[in-house]
């Protein structure tokens, strides 16, 4: 017999290294030949979309297309240290570094344009479509390419390097009081499960995810993170276990270490909640880890709602569920 149940869970998550450890990201912006703009950061692209989001943030400041940006992050000899791609910190930390660096690059760009255009001051200079022009007299303009060529002739380089440090204080060792992380990201996920009371097998038939993001940099990519986080959380709740025995990993290959396939997950209803964080680049907060956190508890609460058994030890395997149903479940 199949019984259905619903469950929710909420979570909060402080992004960044925390506890006063210096959380610093550095970014370097350069005007390259042909007027291209390069952003050099040590931030790793692990698949979360850092290269794209950082290019979006940088391109926004200069009002240029993302295609006009070269994002360099693969080589330590060409990039500054931007910290780990971890703690859901890259969009927030290195995003801020890129934004600040691009803003100071913009000032330098206007200074160069002032020289080139023979102006007394850079007041009123604006930039759009890779051009720098005088707001009050648009004919007075130059292009990124022209500036690059001038600099090349003068054997000079136009670049700006800036850093961003997140706010975090060390907590009191006795009381734990302090401001360990900033900012915090919040969410609430809900699931409906179907439990086969004769085999203990659980199928997730509905998933709803409301995710606070501060401001969405790239909604499609955020949805990808929510889907992926949900899948990893579902695996954590129902399937995954290394099967440790005396320090030996029994499930040390993919035929035994079970992660969800495309047939194990429902269609996921996603709600991106924007409430911009003033210290974040354009209001953005970190979401890479938060998207996974409420999944397992929501599933466990839904299992209880379905068959009246509390699974206190992960994973919630069919064995544990069936054994619990037989001994004290409400079935």
């Amino acid at each position: 017999m199949k019984k259905r149940g619903k469950g929710i869970a909420v979570s909060f998550y402080g992004t960044g290294y925390g506890n006063g450890f210096p959380d610093v990201s550095t970014a370097t912006i350069r005007l390259e030949d042909e007027g291209k703009i390069s952003i050099s950061v040590g931030a790793t692209e692990v698949g979360q979309g850092a290269k794209t989001v950082l290019s979006q943030i940088g391109s926004e400041v200069l009002g240029i297309e993302i295609e006009d940006i070269v994002l360099i992050n693969e080589d330590t000899s060409k990039t500054p240290d931007s910290g780990t791609a971890a703690a859901s910190r890259q969009t927030y930390n290195t995003g801020n570094a890129v934004k600040i660096a691009m803003e100071s690059f913009r000032k330098k760009l206007f200074e160069e344009s002032k020289e080139l255009l023979g102006l007394n001051t850079s007041i009123g200079l604006e930039t759009k479509n890779k051009e720098v022009y005088l707001k009050m007299f648009p004919q007075k303009k130059t292009t990124f390419k022209e500036i690059a060529q001038k600099l090349k002739k003068q054997k000079r380089r136009l670049e700006a390097t800036e850093s961003f440090t997140a706010q975090t204080t060390e907590m009191d060792p006795e009381t734990g009081q302090g401001a360990p992380y900033w900012p915090y990201t919040f969410n609430c996920y809900g699931v409906e499960v179907e439990v086969d009371t004769e085999t203990g097998k659980v199928d997730i038939i509905r998933a709803l995810c409301a995710q606070d993001v501060g401001r969405a940099m790239n909604p499609t990519m955020i949805e990808g993170q929510i889907d992926g986080g949900f899948a990893m959380g579902a695996g954590y709740a129902l399937f995954e276990d290394l099967g440790l025995k005396e320090g030996r990993i029994k499930n040390n290959k993919f035929s035994k270490y079970i992660i969800p396939t495309a047939l194990d997950l429902p269609e996921i209803e996603k709600f991106i909640i924007e409430d911009p964080e003033s210290t974040g680049p354009f209001g953005a907060k970190g979401i890479g880890e938060p998207v996974m956190i409420p999944v397992a508890p929501a599933i466990l609460n839904a299992i209880y709602n379905a068959v009246g058994v509390r699974i206190l030890e992960l994973p919630a395997t069919p064995e544990k569920i069936l054994q619990a149903i037989k001994s004290y479940g409400k079935v």
Binding site: G47, D227, A231, A262, I268
Partner: protein, 164 residues
């Protein structure tokens, strides 16, 4: 050593190989098709999926000799730099790609599906990629992308009929 002949992405190859060479090692190490990835070595993850005579197979579970005289398509045989296959285009447009390691196998599983079933349901699509594990995307946007690609291909199919 033994000689085998096979066609990969439309080109014929005649090679002398070690007898127990796996197909995946022939494709990657000998022919440089490194788009075919190894993720588990036991036919569980699908990252090494290629199309052999119209059917998806795990190239890590085949000896190269089993491909003798046969046609193989790897990801490098799908679409070109300036003319991506609709499936690839749709993967990009619909956010199906994250770390990218499972993507070659996913694209090939999608192609094998759409070559046989022009109008698959989302369940058919999930079934078709059920042998391709992904840890980043949770599969949903991959399913969206294949569904949208099937619509584009059907449209193009009907357009070309009209021109005939």
């Amino acid at each position: 050593m033994i000689n085998i002949k096979l066609n990969v992405n439309g080109k014929d190859y005649d090679l002398e190989i070690e007898e127990d060479l796996r197909l995946i090692d022939l494709l990657r190490d000998r022919l440089g098709f490194t788009g075919t990835k190894e993720g588990c070595g036991e036919g569980e993850c699908g990252a090494c999926t290629v199309i052999l005579e119209g059917k998806t197979v795990n190239s890590c579970l085949l000896l190269a000799i089993q491909a003798h005289g046969k046609e193989i398509t790897t990801i490098e045989g799908i679409g070109k730099e300036d003319d991506l296959h609709p499936i690839q285009e749709s993967f990009l447009e619909n956010g199906a790609v994250q770390c990218g390691y499972c993507i070659p196998g996913m694209v090939l599983s999608a192609k094998a599906l759409l070559d046989k079933n022009k109008n698959p349901t989302r369940k058919d699509i999930r079934e078709a990629i059920s042998g391709n594990l992904c840890r980043c995307t949770g599969y949903e946007k991959i399913v969206d992308s294949i569904e949208k690609a099937s619509k584009i291909l059907q449209q193009r199919g009907s357009e070309s009929h009209e021109q005939l």
